[in-house]
Amino acid sequence: MSSQPHSLAHEDAHEAHHGHSHGHEAGHGSLRSYMVGFALSVVLTAIPFALVMSGALDSKMATAVVVMGLGAIQIVVHMIFFLHMNQRSEGGWTMMALIFTLIIVGIALAGSLWVMHHLNVNMMPMTHEMMKNMP
């Protein structure tokens, strides 16, 4: 992080050199980083769509794992190349907020699926007679 004096001269010089990243702002991307991110995204989107639409993998489980895995990788790619996430922006607080959110999201997702799955499994089995009396 470059510690520049915040003077009026600095504001004038702002336009003169964009090349370096300012310490207090979230880093902007360059054209190159946007294009790299875009190319990666296109590939990471095309592969799962192609896999599902062509049915190339015989195993449904394997296809699902690949789709979710590539989705997770693409989210990281977007975070880095489009949202310019790094450990230094805002003194690390954006990363802290992100990690905290991911933990909560993980608990909410895994917890809901786990609890509801077990609820389903432990439901009283339905007999044929009960099925007929369903609304």
Binding site: H28, Y34, H78, L83, T94, A108
Partner: protein, 204 residues
């Protein structure tokens, strides 16, 4: 560290906004994280209810994956064109920034139109949100994302007018950076939607 430099040069505050730019970006990021929690809960709901078809149609019967692929391409293209707008903003090129914001809005509108077409088509087929738990959670999740995109487009048009009227002043730069985070964030959520809802749904 920043506190020390700011007390040395208090005139910085007279020239800038009332608060340092950094806190706005962090605050907006925390808003996005809270939005992320909303979507996480909707994803969890869909994860729980997504297989409850109530003897109705399943994702494999309903979803047209080529339409979803085109939709995804629209949103991805809008993301990169917003990136171009940000690059033009850094170059201080006012008209180019407005142009790329306009392109982004058009891609966003294309995305929204395709999604509304899909919704209309589903409801016409009798697969509306009231048909089954799966469709209720599907419409809630994808609809909430669509609503975010709608407001994103309204924001983009607002910023086009603002930049046109006032130029690339620090306030507008700050707003454009917040909008940039918002727009890219919506694309990140869409990755979850097309992977988890559409592709996994069709696999079954």
């Amino acid at each position: 560290m920043t506190n020390a430099t700011q007390t040395e040069a208090p005139q910085f505050y007279l020239e800038e906004e009332h608060h340092p730019e950094g806190s706005t970006m962090l605050g907006f990021w925390i808003y996005l994280m809270s939005d992320c929690l909303i979507f996480a809960v909707l994803f969890a709901t869909h994860g729980v209810l997504g297989r409850n078809y109530a003897a109705g149609p399943s994702p494999a019967d309903l979803f047209d994956l080529s339409l979803v692929a085109i939709n995804t391409a629209m949103l991805l293209l809008s993301s990169i064109t917003y990136g171009f707008a940000m690059l033009q903003m850094e170059r201080n090129a006012k008209m180019e920034t407005i142009f790329w914001l306009g392109v982004t809005a058009v891609f966003g509108l294309a995305f929204l139109s395709l999604e509304l077409y899909e919704f209309y088509h589903l409801i016409q087929e009798g697969a509306g949100p009231t048909r089954s738990a799966f469709l209720s959670s599907f419409f809630t999740l994808v609809g909430t994302h669509g609503l975010h995109v709608t407001f994103g487009i309204i924001w983009i048009v607002t910023m086009m007018v603002q930049v046109r009227m006032h130029g690339l002043i620090p306030e507008n730069r700050r707003r454009l950076m917040c909008l940039s985070m918002f727009w890219h964030f919506l694309d990140v959520i869409w990755i979850g939607v097309f992977s988890f809802v559409y592709l996994i749904g069709v696999i079954g």
